[in-house]
Structure formats: C-alpha cells, structure tokens
Subunit: 468 residues, 4 copies
C-alpha cells in the first residue's frame, strides 16, 4: 500500500503516547513517538505538565519526530506527565495549527488533548458549537472534542466531563487527555483504533502500539477496552469507567493487514504472525506454480514468508526498498519513467530475470502503483507475474482513521478482479477472501471492522458521504 | 555490522556519481547520490560545469542527500556535466570543509574532484606537498590528489596530468575528475573500490554502484577496470588508458559481505545472490538444529534466506528495524537498558519466545552490538541463540576505504571464536570460512582483497600503522 | 527609555496595518509593518483574505518582520484584503501562539483580528467566557475580543456584531477586524492608542502610525476618531459608526514622548516637532550652564536639538548607537563592566572629555540604565553631567498598551527627584513639568492620558491592580 | 553614501579583530566584530587556537555577526588566541568559501589569516602561484597572501616568513596572522587601512577601529604604524619589525569622510570631530541662505552639526532612518516610487514643508540615490534644496579596500558639478575642496591617500585597470 498515491484527505492517521508520573516524561514520550513514526510522518508534538508551577509546556512542529525534536532540550518540557502525538495527512497544506496535542485553558485549569481516529459527526458538532459561540482555529475534528469536554468541564470534575462529552461524539477515537491532576485515556465504544496500557518503573504509559513500550523498556499491561475510560491520577492510582457498557466492539482489521508495525501485538494477536498467516491462507486459497515469492517491502514481507512456507516456493527479496527516502524529491523535468515508484523500490534484475514471480502485497488501492511495479518487474525480466493480495479487494473508503481515497478512486470499486488483473498487467491476480482474512487473525467473521472490504460500516458514515 | 559502534576514523566511506553531456546533469547526479545514500550519510555535494560561461557551480552540505538538497533549485547547478559525492566519516567533527567534491582553479581552467577510497601514503604526499608550498584546508587525502593533479596540469593536458600524477598515489581510489572539456574516471591498479559506467539517452554516467543506474533509468555498460583511466569528452567520445598495464586487480570482497546495496551488481556478480550463497555455504559448514533463522536487517537478510534454504529451518523476520532513525537521539538520562540497539532494532517477542534461533549477521566488529542484540533476544524469550556470521572473523582494520576500528578494538583480533561466543553470550557461534566466502562470490581464493579477514594487504598499509 | 530593562509584562506593545481592495494587499501590509517595526520586535503576522476561494491565509512568526518574512513568497498570502500586526512583549516565553492576527471560523465565515492596546477587564471577560464554555489557546486579551465578537456574530452582520461586543470591553484598544466582505477598524472611546486612515491608488489602508503610509506611498486621510467604528466594504465604500457617541477622548501623551516614530504625525501634531518643543520647554524650565547637549539616541535626539536651540549650548552626538544590535548576545563570562549598556551605546570620549554635559533622555524608568550611562560618561572624562528628562517623572505603570514595570519598580515612585539624582550620580537632574509637557504638545492640560506621570487613569485600572 | 547602489565589486570592505592570550578570546573577538559590523555585513568568521591540543577551531557564516553567531556556544571555539573578520562585498554571489579568516595546514603547524584591504597585483600573484602548482578555492586575494606566506614558512620561522612574503604583495592590506605560537599583525607600507593595538586585563587585542576596544573594555595603546609588523607571543611579549623602513605612509582619508564609526579615533584624530570640522569648512567655503540644515543619516550627522554651528542655520533631523532594514526586501510588483530609498529613509514632511533646506551628505557616487532623496524632499514640500557634500567630488575608483563602482559609473567622472546639480535637481550643490578636507582632518595636503578625489594613486592601480 502506497500512501503517497492518495490524493484526497478523509482522515488523519496518528499515534498517541502518554506518560504519567515519570521524571523523564517528555523524553519517554518522544521515544514513544519515535517508535510509532510509521503511523504519521508529517507532524509531531508533545505537551508536558509541570506540577511545580501548574503550567503546560508544548513543543510541536511539521515533519518527522527526529526533525521536530532535533537537538531539542527536554528541560523545555518539564514535569512528570506528558502526552504526545504524530500525524499524517494527505492534505497538501500541512499547517502547524493542525498539529496535536491541542491545549486550552478551561475553567478548572488547563487541559491538553490528542486523538487518533476520525469522527463521523464532526460537521454537525462543529456547526453546533460555532452556533453556540465556539471559535475554531484549525480544521481538525479534535478541536470539536476539545470544545465539548471544555464545556462539560465547567461544572464537572475532569473524568465526569469526559464521560458527559463523549456520547455526543460519533466515530472512531482513541484519546489521551491531560489535566492538571489526572491523565484520562478513552477508546470509542467500538474500539476501532488501538490504545494500550503499559508500565515502566512503576509509572503508567499509554501508546497506540506495543512497539513503543519495547523501545522505552516498558511492560505491556493490557489493551484499553472498547468504550473504556481510564483515569490515572496520584502516583499510580487507576480507575476504569464504562459509560457505554462493556462490549467487544469492532476493532479495525486493517491494522493487521497494513497499518501496525509487525512487532506490535494488539487485541491479543501479534501483527507479524497475523500477516504470515494471511500468506498461508492466501497460498491455500489461490495456489500458483512459480519460481519465487517476492514481497513488496516492508508491509508484504511477513505474508510473503507465509506464502512461501505454505507453497514451498522460495522466498526472495527481489524488490529492494530505499530507506533514505525523504519527504520531497526534485524530479528531473524530462521525466524518468515511473520515477515515483523507483525512488522507493528497485527491482533486482538478477533475481527476477527469467523467473515466474509471485508478488505479495497488502492492498491495491488505486492500482497505479501496482501497475508501475509490475512494469518494473517485467523490465527486470520476470517471465510471469502473479499478484497475491493479503486481504480482500479494497472497495470501501475508511471513515474511521485510515487514509484511503474516495470510493470512486478505489480500483476495486470500479473494476472486477479480472479487470484489475488486465489493468495492472499481471498474469494472475488473487485476493485473500474475507473468510481467509478472519481465519488469519483468528477471529470470528464480522467481529472486527472490515468496512474497507465489505462496506459494512459498524457506526455509519458521515452524513455528507454516501456509500453505494 | 553497526557503523555507529566505531569510535575511530581511519577511513571515509563514499559514493561517486558522474554525468557527462546531459541537460539535467546535476539533477541526475542528485538522484544517483540518493540511491547510493547507504555509502555515506554525513555529507553530500555536487559540482556542475556550465559550458556557456566556463564556470563551475557547487553545492555541498552536511547531512543526508535529502537534507542537503532539500527544496534545492537545480538551476543553481547549471550545465551539462556534473560530478557528485556522498561521504561517511566517524570523526566527531563533521566539517563542511571535508565534504567533496573539491574544486580548484588551476592553470588551464577549473577542475573538480571526488574520490572513493583511502590513500596509504597520504602522510608522505601531504608533507611533501606542504614542503613544496602547498596549503591544505581540509584533512582529506583527496586534497593531496587535487594538488598532485593540479601540479601536473600546469604543463600537460588533463588526461596526461592525471596519468602523470597517479603513480605517486598509493592506495585505494576510484576518482571522478571534472575538467572544462572532459570528465576523467580512474580506478586504482588494484581496483579496490568499485566504479561502473552506464549510459542514459546517449549520455555517459558513472557511479559507484549499479543501483544508481536503475533509479535514473540508465543502462549498465561495464565496470571501469582496475588501473583504467577513462576519458570522456565531446558529445560522447570515450577513450581508455592503462598507464599501469592491465590486470584483474584485487577488488574488495567486503563490498559483497556488507557494503554494497543488494540490488547492485559488481565485478560480474549480484550482491544479493552472493550474500544468499554465503548463507548456503554457512549452513553447510556450520549446521545447527534450530527452530527459526532470523537475520539482523538489512544486511543479514539475503544470507539468512540462503541459510534457511540450505538448512530447511524456517526464515523469520524476528528483528524489526526502525527505518526512521535520524542522526541524533536525545537519550533519557536514567538510561534505558541497551538503548542504542533498541532505537534501531526491536525483537518480536511473539516470534522468538521459546524458540531455538539462528541469528545471521555479516560481521562482529567490536562485539558490543552483537552482545546487546543477544541480550534482547534472550529477553524476548529465545531458548537458544546460534550466531552465524557470513564472513570470516574481522581481524584486520581496513586501510582501503571501509570504516573499521583499530585492530585493538576488533574483538576477533583479541579473542578466539570460543571466547567471542562466551563474550556475546551465544549458545554457538560460527563464521564462514575464507574458502566458503570465495565459493559464495564464485572467485578464486586470493583474487580479491580480503585483508580484513586475512591481513594480507595487497598494497601494504600506511607507514604509521603496524599490523601484527 | 530602555525597554530591555523591564522585567515585567503588563502590556503588549504593537502596531497594526490593514489594506482593503489592493492587488498587492499582503505585500503592502508587510511594508507597513516594516516601517512600524519600532512598535514591536518580537513577532509579526499577516492574514490575507482571498475572495476567489473565500479563504483566509496566514503567516506568522517569532522575530523581526525581516526575519518572519525572509524570502517569503507573497503568493502564499493571496487576495486583495489583508491585516497585519507586530508585537513586543517582555514575557520571557515568546510563543508563536501569542502572535497576532488571530483568526477563527465563525458562523458566517472566517474572521481575523489584530489589536493594539490592553484591556483592563480581561480577567473578568476571560473567566466569564470560559464559564460559558469558551476555550483559550493563548494568554492574550485579544483572544477575549475574538470570542466576544464571534458570539455576537452568530445572529448579527459583522459591524453589528462588533458594535454589540465592544461595550463589554474596557481598556485601550485599536482594532482591525477582517471579515469575508468587509474590514472593520475600531478605536476605544478614549482613543488611547492611535489608528490612522490612508489611501493608496484608490484603496484604503489603515495603520498605527503615518510613517507606514510614507513608505508605501499612501496619503494620510484622517485619524480614526475615539470611539469610532469604521466599516470598509465593496470596492471603496466607507461607513462610520459612533456607538459610544462622539468625544475627544484622552489619547496617550507618551506616544509623543517616546513611542511613536519622530516622522509620524498623530492627533494633528508631528512627533518630532513635539519632542523638539519638549526640549525648548525643558531648557526654559531648568536651564543650566554647560558645554554641550548630548541626546540618548534615538528617542532623545529631537528634544536635545530643542534644548540646544533654546539654551544656545552646542548639540553633540556624544553617544553613538550601535544599530546592528540583534535580539541575543553571548556575553563574556568574566563580565565586562556595564556590558548591557555598551552593546547599545558607546560614549565618544573625544567629545565628552573635560566637558560639562547636558544629557537629554525621554524617561528614567528603573534608573539602572541611566546610572550606567552616566558612569560611561564619567569614564569618558565628562566633568559635569546634567540630566534633563523630556517628561515628568514616570510614577505610574501603564495599563493601556505601553510596556512599563510595576509601580514598585519605577524609581520615581520610590524616590524623590533629589534621591534619583544621587542614585544615578548626576550633577543635576530635572524633569519637564506636566504643564510644560502639555505646552510642548500644544494641548489643554488633562486632555490626554498622562497617567504614567499623574496616576490619573481615565478608564481605571485592572481590578487586580492597586495604584497608590 | 549608499552602498547598495553599487553594482560592481572591486573591493571587499572588512574589519579585523585579534585577541592574544585571553581566556575568553573567541567571545571577545565576537564582540569586537559586533562593534565593527558597519565595516562588513555579509559574512563573519572567527578562528581560535587551542594550545592544549594544538588545534585551530573555526566558525564562519554568511550574514550579520548576530546571525552567524546566533545562539553560538563559544566552547566550540576554545583557546586563548583568536582572530576574526567581517566582510562586505557587492558581488551577487556571496559564498561561504569567500568568508575569512582563511586557514591552512603548513609545514610548521597551522595558520589562519584575515585581511582588510585589496591587492593591486593579485592577478599576477595568483597566476604565478597557479603556475607553481598552487590551487585556489576562493576568488579572494587573501588566498594569494596565504599561499605566499605558507611557501616562505617552509624554511623560516613565522615572522621571517611574513617578512619575506610581504615584499611581493602590492596594495592595501592590514593583516592578522595567527600561528601556533604567535599572532602577527601587519600593515602595508602606506598604511592605507587602519589597524590599532589595545590592551585588556594584561592581554593584547587588535582591531580595525578603536570602537571595538570600547565595547570590550580594552584600552587603546597605539596605531600599528605603516609598514610595521608586530609580533605577539608568550604571555605578552611584543616585538616590532619595519622591513620596509619607517614612514608616515598615506592612510586613507575616506575613513574619516565615511567609513569609520564616528566614535573611533584613528591616526590621532577622532572621526566625529573630523566630520564636524568638514561641516565647518564646508559652511565657510560654500555658504548659503537657508532655513534648516538636514543630514543624510547616519554618516552626514556630524558634518551637518558642524555646518549648522558655522552657518547659524538650525540643525534638524528632517530625514529619519529606518534601523530595522534587513538584507532583503520583498518589493511590491507595481513598484512604489523610489522604493529603495524609502525603505531606508523617510522625509519628515512637517519639518521640511515650506523650508529652504541644506542637505549634508558625505558623497555622491552614482547620483541616483541623491536624486531620489531630493525628489522625496521636494514631495515633502521643501522650497529650496541645497546639497552640501563633505568631501570633493568622487572621481576615482578606490582600489585599496573601499567599495566604489568603476570610474564610468561615478557621476563626478562623467559630469561637472553644475551638470550634477541639474541631474539631481538641486537648487545648489557644493563640494568641500580638497584643501578644506585636509584642514578638517588637520593634516598636510597629500599626506593621506585621497585618490578617490584626486586620482593620485600612491601605489598605482591594478595592471588591468586604466585610470583616465
């Protein structure tokens, strides 16, 4: 899956980090963002709270975590509590005003808020708030949540304010909210986006993925549950609230397919192992005679290993990824053929030449990138190219926090599998079935959000959007 | 192999790019450096020559190619001819004055020079030149070469000046030299460092590795031969000179083991295939009963695949590499255990837990990184850890352009294999034999420079250095 | 008067610029800020409005106008309408969030707001707004005004919203408010801070000082009157509203003494001429026998010329100002005596040696700078030093937009003139009387705000502040 | 005199600073450059020498001292000895390679060199050196001096090397040369450019102007004499050499007219006083009936005071200078009339309206700036404009270190005084006579270099230049 292909911006992709009561709170938050950089490369920010003077400190910027915090002196983010955020947005205009965490002065002090997700009733919330006199300085739906909680916080203590505010919010959200005296973590009732709790030296940490815990040496405690509001205060007091009742929710299955890092474990399953199993299932469902199995790195690697194991066809890194790719390129004017693809990947001719190749990738979104990759494979001498996708066709846009283009731009919405095969010029093309995907993640069919494949949107879509 | 471990600076690691007679010369040079970024991440520069006004243009900087040329307007590097350079140096003080290409006004115009390699008689050359009145503004041995050629160029046409200057230079060098009216490429008589010739739209390009040609859409023509001086002029005139006679030389075998990109082909062999074969040979020489084969990414991947194929033990990506690692980190003060290793790699517990693991890496240099990795594997629950190294023990420092520490700091110089095994806390440790390595690269034993393993230095060492 | 001496932050000093219906609106705004740079050196911002897509564009930064807009491409601020702001604040923490103009999405589109002044009931406004659910992202009182107008704009057209909002605001304010279809300029009923209207090529411009018009080639039309709300719309429609009725107000007399640029004309009087007249009055009131009259540049120059004319004592530039002073210095550790003063001014020994010197300055705030200057004069050989201040003793803090320290820190609040003379080590010290000052600005006594000298605060002080 | 008017680059204008044996050498050097910023705003550099490790440290950059050393940590320039340099050049391409000090490794260690001046035989020196094999990496004539001294230093101790090298150098030069064990200061036999010696806490300092000593609290000791080579070593040993013999030389008279800061004292005369005296002489030579005397600030201020004193016509600051002018402006496209002049100066209409004005400036170079200023004065309502220039007509280009355009571009080379008066549209125009100028600086006619007025070039001009 190639993000850069997307032209539209429905969604912001993000990661969260929270640290409570640790003497190096902001520094740990920074490292936690570092290890979750794959979830958002266009902006990063950390807010810390300092008990000594009751002040919030903030540092934000456009770019990678390493750029935003280049040579940063963490004494400028003092205090034992901190939350942080990285974000990705395809919107051309990446403005500092959009970078989270957001913060505000409210009646009982200051609060800071960071969100991973996407609301589906934001238009209504925003216009309602504006009618009540609220002003908005960004385009982010997170600002609506900030307003709603701030309003409830006039007359309520923090956790009550959050509990009272959340029912008006529809959508996918994992939240970290830092108040003077407590850190609140919340996950929407469907638990669409991940949020995990860990522990380090007797202090609590929260993150979107467990890989953040590994870097800072924290221990995984448990997932925050769907609809759960966790309240951390004092030195290590923790309380749990379920204002929406308890349920298993419908966590996002696409986190396994593409978005999470392979070394993360979520919802009880390891991402790498889930992907390998997708490869196994795919090889069972759509076997093919071939000489080598080649992944589109990095997301296709685990599945390709699984496919290789199941099929007995040798696994080869026939496509090399350039890991030094920055955010901008200066392209030659007399354009090099398929330049955009080449800057990220290079086909190893010596491996591919004369071979029948199984190419394993996680998705075909618009189809243009896959088409170019196949062209590159053919130019490298591949004799046959059999594309195997580790998930069903992507037919529905995500409205819950994964950045996908509009339905019209999704090739699987416009074409049949056979037509896509023709378009991308593959010798064969097969997708993993929805049943196979659920087998791979070892879950009951329908127990997760699979709307991008089935168009079954568990909490509906924004009123302005129609889904055929 | 983990470069950051090295504390000493013997050598500069580099890549070269040259473009002759192309309307987007500097832009192609930039892309060529981009794809060779792995050969040097601490500085980059391009010099272009504009026929219209007989001027050299230069842009250099500290950092990655994407940083040095961030938002760069290539109209500031006009002209149809260009050379470029990236470099890596462990010297703490990375100064702009050290960044190549170097340029000078000489008697018959201007020249620019970029080098990949390392001279062994630089101390003598430098002091000799200084005695003759030369001044040095950098610490680089490339400046000595610049002086020598400039002196010869007083009375000789460019190629003659180069031919007359080179005999006084001892060491490993691949050179690109841009004059007003010609581009000269030279490789030392032993051909220690690579240099390849390609073609794009009827224009010549030169690079350290063929992967540069793939990105810009150029076709590989041939290796520049050991001791060859190639002179390109006019629109596409090319002439070849062999002032030292013809020979096969002793190209660096370590380019296959670690340094080159796997999709590059050099000296007739593909790097990825060579590495895979090292894995095969290693599995034959040092078989072991285990559950999984895990590479230290990225350099160990191909060899681990080979090891897995030969041994039948499943290949797993049990170690995940963080690709967003920048050049600096802000470490927490109460230091996280083995932080330096963790920021680059994370062990996937779910994969390793309870397993007997074969870990495949290309080298053990000082031993500290390997020791930390094994600790991380054990913490992740690995039951047994069998380290397999795809080359013989690194016993000798390189004086020919690969950055290795002093002999004293090389663990294999200080300890036996058994002692190293104890030190790094592995359950078993085996290195590929020198014979196995030559089999893997399909070359006659001794036909390449293998001094880092054998201490057979084909052209000697600097007079100030002693090798036991 | 030396701003850098101040340790406290009551006030923000600012300048405004507005341009309506000009094809280079943002570029003119930039130049207008440039010429008003003396009113605020720590942050600058411009908001433009583009009719074609109904969007606000914004560019802000910390630093001088030349730094914030260094190499700026004004196509990034498109549209025919723009407002801009520069600010100065002594608050140590100069945050981007504080830099104006502020902007918001409100019910009928977007609005942007910039203010010069200071509210005295901001604490009450802010807490009231927060109680009603408003959130604050800066510490600026301008954010309160933004909220108030936004609330009124729910049900009212822009100018009505402003008219309804202003009565709740107490304090000194000159405002520029940019809506989709109109630009509104407002001055508080007392007209404490300046705001002038000009015209350029048939388009209206607004600024804090007339010197902005001179640079861009605009013609001065008139002062915005105290309590006037001017509404500009269409191509050049202009309407005037006086919701508070008409009055002469009490404009700030200190603009003449120190703050305005000498080439500005305000309230019908030229600042340079007013200052010269202060020098005349001072020489009449407190004559002295001396050899030379030396101004503390730049604010003391005009008055020193006046003093010289009246007294017949020669005028000399005995103190040279270093105009390259940046915002930070790296001071030597073994501190140079009176370093802070020396970096800004140097005494010309050849001029001062052996002389009886009249030193003319506009104010003595804390006294420390004057004390150091006198020490420097004495070290340069001055025989006698007679300090003449072009205004009465500064006894009251300003709460209306001029940055002064707390009353306790004002030397004239703590000491008598005689005691101050001793403290600064002058041979004589005299201040201009309040009557003399009014004569100099040719106004009836009490017709302007002179609270810094008299403690007669025409609109009171913030409830949290007491004035003895 | 308006530098920005110049389109050609003959010369580099510069300032030097040197500190020997002071624990904060680099920090003092920085401050010394700060106070000499008016001599060069386009680049700055400092080299320090650290005895402990025998290393040179260097920091250079493009821009103002405050920009180049913004947030600089002076521990990066350790050592007790340092030299520094600021430069100005009109060459469009301001490259880092041109910024001094230059440094080199030579036979007996390292040396660093900074120059203020301009060689007239550089073309010959450079081509000669290149023929001998020297390479040049900048376009600066200082690099030639570096080569010459380096060559002599092969067989000679430092001071001998300098003494042997200087005879081949023709031109204006003040030099600071830092060797491992000594600091050498040299002034050309004609002493064209200034160089002064001072003392601070028992350590020696050297600077171009005495104002540098005032800032750092150093005491002026004496001028370095024309043709003198001063050698400072040990803790405070000082030796003086006169290889060319002793003479009074021909110091540059234009330093008094325009270039030096008014608070500097040089060649025994204070610059401010010299300028005032020029005003007196001018009023005597070319009296006029008028209402006010207005200087073009800052260089015309002292002379205007003198003119006012002599003539009895009141002095007024009718032209206000904008001190926040940065290095670049973004000009509006539909260009504002006389924009370039307005950004620097604004005419105060209230002062000028209806007046007969004497405008005092130091020079008319090309005439365009003066023409625009007069237009601005007339637009401000001035009734008559009488231009008085404090020096004779500038008829000759400077080849000795002051940046003037080619002779052809000098209006006084092309036109008579009467014609210039018509061109600039003045009511009268008068220049100070050469005799008057010498009277003002209290020197015997011809005892200083006055070539810009008389075309008597005391050491000739570059061979490639002809002077009519």
């Amino acid at each position: 899956m190639n993000k850069r292909e997307f032209g539209d911006c429905f969604n912001e992709e993000c990661a969260l980090i929270g640290v409570w009561n640790h003497q190096e709170a902001a520094n740990l938050a920074y490292l936690g963002l570092y290890s979750q950089q794959h979830r958002g490369q266009e902006g990063a920010g950390i807010v810390s709270y300092n008990d000594d003077n009751c002040k919030l400190y903030i540092h934000k910027g456009i770019g990678l975590v390493s750029e935003v915090f280049d040579d940063f002196d963490f004494q400028r983010l003092p205090g034992r509590n901190a939350i942080g955020h990285v974000r990705y947005s395809t919107a051309g205009d990446c403005r500092l005003a959009e970078v989270q965490p957001f913060q505000a002065e409210i009646s009982n002090g200051r609060m800071a808020l960071a969100q991973n997700g996407n609301l589906i009733n934001n238009a209504e919330l925003r216009s309602g708030l504006i009618k009540e006199g609220a002003i908005f300085t960004s385009t982010s739906d997170t600002e609506s949540i900030l307003h709603l909680i701030a309003r409830k916080a006039q007359k309520n203590p923090p956790v009550k304010a959050v509990i009272e505010a959340l029912p008006s919010i529809k959508g996918a959200y994992s939240l970290l909210i830092l108040f003077n005296d407590r850190l609140i973590a919340a996950r929407d009732p469907n638990g669409l986006r991940p949020l995990v709790l860990g522990e380090i030296n007797g202090s609590y940490v929260l993150a979107s993925e467990t890989c953040a815990f590994d870097l800072i040496g924290a221990t995984f405690v448990r997932d925050i549950e769907p609809g759960e509001i966790v309240e951390i205060s004092g030195s290590k007091d923790i309380a749990s609230h379920f204002p929406f009742g308890k349920s298993k929710g419908t966590p996002c299955i696409f986190e396994y397919v593409y978005f999470s890092r392979p070394d993360s474990t979520w919802n009880g399953k390891n991402v790498y192992q889930a992907r390998k199993k997708m490869g196994h299932e795919l090889a069972k469902e759509s076997p093919i005679e071939a000489d080598i199995v080649v992944p589109v790195p990095d997301s296709g690697v685990a599945a390709a290993i699984g496919f290789s194991e199941e099929s007995g066809i040798p696994f080869e890194m026939g496509l090399i990824r350039n890991h030094y790719v920055g955010r901008t390129f200066i392209e030659p004017q007399q354009s090099i053929r398929d330049f955009g693809v080449k800057i990220k990947h290079n086909a190893n001719k010596q491996i591919l030449n004369g071979k029948r190749v199984v190419v394993v990738d996680d998705s075909i979104v618009r189809g243009t990138t896959t088409k170019k990759l196949i062209k590159m494979f053919r130019a490298a001498g591949a004799k046959e190219i059999h594309v195997r996708i580790t998930a069903p066709p992507t037919k529905g846009s995500c409205f819950y926090g994964i950045d996908t283009p509009t339905q019209e731009q999704l090739i699987a919405h416009q074409m049949s599998v056979e037509e896509i095969k023709e378009y991308i010029d593959a010798d064969s093309l097969a997708y993993l079935s929805i049943d196979g995907l659920y087998r791979a993640v070892n879950s009951e069919k329908g127990s997760m959000c699979d709307a991008c494949f089935t168009k079954n949107y568990p909490i509906g879509v924004p009123s302005s959007c129609t889904v055929e």
